[in-house]
């Protein structure tokens, strides 16, 4: 809302130079977004709030400044030069829906010479950022931006039968607005109609066929009040937003209607207009002023500072409230009709705080009577997880949750995506069902910008419909590795990343978070190459998957290099209690090491060997690890050579070589019988 310094001076004797006013606007919450000079006037663009329609006119803003500076507010009396004829003889008004139109005021002004506005009026209109049109239109805008009361002016002679009917639109009715386009109306919309058809969309915009033209001489001024919700619904539905609808949506002062009509009629008098006698005022259900109790002690209880009683009464009175003292320090405040926002004691306390000055309220530490025990388990886990992956050399990314349904389709995640009803574009019309599409896009973006390798992760939610129709959002971890690994040494060439890099990261994740090691079971997935993916299980529950991204998907995204990716449902992890950590005594006796090299059929995977060894329960076996594996070369076809190192230890004495040899024989014979190994 543009506020003109000169215009304010019509209501208040400002003695501050225009340059110094801005900081006072800020101080009372009328934030100045910009200031500009227009023909010697200073115009402030101020931020107004949805609950303060009274600040959408210069009079309301002047009242705020008058309160702040302790200056009187001057409201002019509007003189009318009257006709013999009464308004009722010149026009017939029927308000058929007083719910949607609680008050309707009007006056007729005859004999107006339509023409350009005088300079002072043009200046006002330009100050608020509008273009001067003619004296009648400009006057109605001038009134609107003075009082915050939108007006509409009709050419009286273009209203059929000089009749105004305020009613709901009929099905199938149309109106051609002042902006020229025909608009189809529905029965939930309020219209201003003449005897035959709608002539204006109530409170939003007038119709072309009843508007002011160069030939107009007799004007009907409408100054009415409309239901905010109805105006908002109609304006939204039709995609129209006007200065009038903007004000009515927020709630125009019910008592500004008669004032607006008189002010406009008086101004039209300057152009030869004579005003009909008697204000037309249809106001069947008169509203009583709101009453709000206020306690002085509550002010200090909420603000944390004692505000002098004299300041409280002076400020609220200057804002137009009437204070009736019930007992010392307790009032009933009568709220003026233009302050639609003041309803509770807290609202009045805000007014006092605003004018007292937020900077005068002290700064104190928020006291605490008790502290809760720390219970941010999920946040702690999440951060530990991120640190582990960062340490692993993966960079963290954050992608939008909004996704492109066409691209998402390629992945066939099997989850029912959630669509937005009013997306910004068709390419962001669903919520993602997987983190992997975003990670692939990140890889492509970076490959197109000089990257040789991309190793990234993201934690964030995926969203989908459950089978029972409930929405679901799950916290996931997505990982992707592609291309050259980070080279950090001048004597070793950087290697290409692989499946085991990512698998290791996942294994470490479980380890560092204190969870039992996961199981990786080969299983195909729609977006991974066949035979090149695994399911990740923790305690028989699927936590995610890992594999090589399918060529078709890489093609669709124009990702040339191979990419390995994985996704984990973190809820599955975070719901589990990590194993409680207690210290284990450091070994006091030396261990013994034995190596075993053997051949095994290629179709037996490592997990099978691992499982057999774990099943065996060998005495004193501390751990074992694979240290070599190869196939091909001189080996018989279909055979793989493994070398495994076994570590033995007794906790309370030194082991004997014979004991360890016996254990090794046991291991060998077990592997021979179950997995048909041949010693090398």
């Amino acid at each position: 809302m543009n506020i003109s310094y000169d215009w304010l001076k019509e209501y208040i004797a400002l003695n501050l130079p225009p340059g110094e006013l801005a900081k006072y606007f800020d101080q009372i919450g009328l934030m100045v977004e910009s200031t500009k000079e227009i023909e010697g006037d200073t115009v402030y663009e101020i931020e107004t709030y949805a609950n303060r329609p009274d600040t959408l006119g210069h009079l309301g803003v002047a009242r705020e400044l008058a309160t702040l500076f302790g200056l009187p507010l001057k409201v002019p009396a509007w003189q009318l030069s009257e006709l013999e004829e009464s308004t009722f003889d010149l026009i017939d008004i029927q308000v058929l829906d007083s719910q949607l139109c609680p008050r309707y005021c009007g006056l007729v002004v005859k004999g107006v010479a339509v023409g350009p506005s005088p300079e002072w009026l043009k200046k006002r209109i330009e100050a608020i950022g509008l273009r001067p049109i003619n004296n009648i239109v400009d006057i109605s805008n001038y009134v609107c931006f003075s009082l915050g009361q939108p007006l509409h002016t009709f050419d009286l002679n273009r209203l059929k039968e000089a009749r105004i009917i305020v009613r709901r639109a009929r099905k199938g009715e149309f109106i051609r607005t002042l902006e020229g386009q025909p608009v189809e109306l529905t029965p939930d919309m309020l219209v201003i109609a003449d005897d035959s058809k709608p002539v204006a969309l109530a409170g939003i915009i007038g119709g072309e066929e009843s508007g002011i033209t160069e030939k107009t001489t007799d004007v009907f001024i409408e100054s009415a009040n409309f239901d905010p919700v109805s105006i908002r619904l109609t304006a939204k539905k039709l995609g129209l937003s006007t200065d009038a609808s903007y004000r009515f949506e927020r709630g125009v002062d019910i008592n500004a209607a008669p004032l607006g009509a008189r002010m406009a009629a008086s101004l039209l008098g300057q152009f030869g207009g004579k005003v009909s006698r008697g204000l037309l005022d249809v106001y069947p259900n008169q509203r009583k002023p709101k009453s709000v109790p206020l306690r002085l002690k509550r002010i200090s209880e909420l603000l944390g500072i004692e505000v002098p009683e004299e300041f409280v009464t002076r400020t609220l009175t200057a804002l137009g409230l009437k204070l009736n003292e019930q007992k010392p320090g307790v009032w009933i405040a009568e709220i003026p009709s233009f302050r639609v926002d003041l309803e509770r004691e807290a609202d009045l306390i805000e007014e006092i705080a605003r004018f007292f000055g937020y900077d005068r309220i002290p700064s104190e530490v928020t006291p605490a009577r008790s502290f809760e025990l720390p219970d941010n388990k999920e946040q702690d886990c999440l951060w530990l997880l991120k640190e582990t992956l960062l340490h692993y050399g993966l960079d963290e990314v954050i992608n939008f949750s909004l996704a492109d349904p066409e691209k998402e389709k390629i992945w066939q995640t099997g989850l029912q995506p959630i669509e937005l009803r009013n997306p910004i574009s068709s390419r962001t019309s669903i919520l993602r069902t997987s983190l992997l599409p975003g990670l692939v896009e990140n890889a492509v973006w970076n490959y197109n910008r000089e990257a040789n390798g991309v190793h990234i992760f993201e934690t964030g939610k995926v969203y989908f419909w459950e089978a029972d129709g409930q929405q679901s959002e799950e916290l996931h971890l997505g990982l992707l590795t592609s291309g050259r690994q980070e080279q950090k040494s001048w004597d070793q060439p950087a290697g290409e990343t692989d499946y085991f890099y990512l698998k290791g990261a996942i294994e470490d994740l479980f380890f560092y978070l204190g969870y039992e090691a996961p199981v990786f079971e080969p299983e195909d997935q729609s977006f991974f190459e066949n035979g090149q993916s695994v399911k990740i299980l923790t305690k028989n529950e699927t936590a995610g998957y890992l594999g090589l991204i399918k060529q078709e998907i890489r093609k669709a995204y124009e990702l040339e290099k191979l990419a390995y990716a994985g996704e984990l449902n973190l809820a599955v992890l975070f719901n589990r209690q990590p194993r409680a950590f207690v210290f284990t005594p450091v070994p006091r006796y030396p261990g013994m090491v034995r190596d075993l090299s053997f051949l095994i059929e290629a179709q037996v995977n490592f997990q099978a060997i691992d499982a057999q060894l774990k099943k065996l329960n060998v005495p004193y076996l501390e751990r074992f690890e694979i240290y070599d594996r190869f196939e091909g070369g001189s080996l018989p076809a279909g055979q793989i050579s493994y070398s495994v190192r076994f570590f033995f230890r007794h906790e309370s004495r030194t082991l004997l070589a014979e004991e360890v040899d016996r254990a090794m024989l046991n291991i060998i014979s077990h592997l021979k019988s179950t997995l048909k190994i041949q010693l090398r």
């Binding site: 905010p228 700064s363 939008f400 970076n446 964030g460």
Partner: protein, 344 residues
């Protein structure tokens, strides 16, 4: 024939040459043998020679020879110690070559900044809460005192899923969810993603991050809100940062405030400043005392309890702190951008 002192001098030369050449213990043993050998060691022979000298020369020469013996023993002992000291296999030919560094991934700047904020509040006894991103109209608007069809909703332009569900436009619904299940005192922050139906520009995107704070207890005042937020902002931007509280409007707080910090780019000195538009201030958060209607909606008696709340855009605040001109950089995930935040 040279005299005994001359011979000693010659052997001293030999000893020093050998000591410099000796590379291992085996060679050292040979040197030892050569000097100290019982039968043919140089010293043994020299002592034999000493015995042959006339008595008047014997005394002085004896002192010299004994000194030389001690010198030999000392040199060989030092050499042995040096050779037995463990040594690297390889020697470095150019110590100025770069070291071998391990690459750590870069945390996303928003994670980093959120973590900074969390740490400050956790140090003040706040706990971190979380809530759904897909919300109902009730939690996102109605319970927060946004009447249906009120234009106040226009500032929170909403992406809808259907008539009941929407993407939360702020983290404030979690306030309601926490107050519904927990009795005061409440002292929480709520970081998370929020969504608005906004066209992308340098400071607006359809998704961004917020952190919400809420305190509810007996006797909480606006002064507490001011003091805590001032501490927070100074902890984040440094003790010298200037800030101001100015009145504002939010349906769920009363009185409401916005907090501006002085423009870190121009400090109010540039009327054409691109960061603050010449005002000298940048708005960083909205706050206020919890509206009594919000308390009523969660069955907390506003006569017994009061509270304060704030909401801050993490993205925009991080933009100010790191002087990032465009919000979209956070979501492009260009490694050349992200990796700058490795320097935590």
């Amino acid at each position: 024939m040279s005299s005994l002192p001359e011979k000693i001098e010659q052997y001293r030369q030999v000893l020093n040459d050998l000591a410099a050449k000796t590379k291992n213990i085996k060679e050292l043993e040979e040197v030892k043998q050569a000097f100290l050998g019982r039968k043919k060691g140089h010293l043994t022979l020299l002592f034999e020679e000493l015995k042959q000298l006339p008595p008047e020369e014997k005394k002085a020469a004896g002192v010299v020879l004994n000194n030389f013996k001690m010198e030999v023993q000392k040199t060989l002992a030092e050499l042995e110690e040096q050779l037995r000291r463990p040594r690297a296999e390889k020697t470095v030919s150019d110590l100025t070559l770069p070291g071998k560094r391990i690459y750590w991934g870069a945390p996303h700047p928003l994670t980093l900044f959120q973590r900074k904020i969390e740490k400050i509040f956790v140090s003040m006894g706040f706990s971190v809460e979380d809530g759904p991103e897909i919300e109902t109209d009730y939690y996102n608007f109605e319970a927060l005192n946004f009447p249906p069809y009120h234009p106040a909703r226009d500032s929170w332009d909403t992406l809808y899923i259907n008539d009941q569900l929407l993407l939360r436009t702020h983290t404030s619904p979690v306030q309601i969810r926490v107050m519904e299940k927990k009795k005061p005192p409440i002292r929480i922050i709520i970081p998370g993603k929020v969504y608005r139906r906004e066209t992308a520009d340098p400071t607006h995107l359809p998704m961004f991050h917020q952190v919400e704070g809420l305190v509810v207890d007996r006797g909480i005042t606006f002064a507490h809100l001011k003091g805590t937020l001032e501490y927070f902002i100074k902890a984040l931007f440094g003790e010298k940062v200037k800030l101001r509280f100015r009145p504002s409007f939010f349906p769920f707080t009363e009185p409401s405030a916005e907090v501006d910090i002085e423009c870190l780019a121009c400090h109010g000195q540039d009327s054409q400043c691109r960061v603050c538009g010449g005002t000298g201030w940048k708005e960083i958060l909205g706050a206020g005392l919890v509206d009594p209607q919000v308390f009523k909606n969660v069955n907390i008696d506003p006569e017994k309890y009061s509270g304060w709340a704030f909401g801050l855009g993490i993205d925009r605040t991080a933009m100010l702190a790191y002087e990032i001109p465009e919000m979209r950089y956070f979501y492009e995930n260009d490694l050349r951008f992200l990796r700058q935040f490795n320097r935590r």
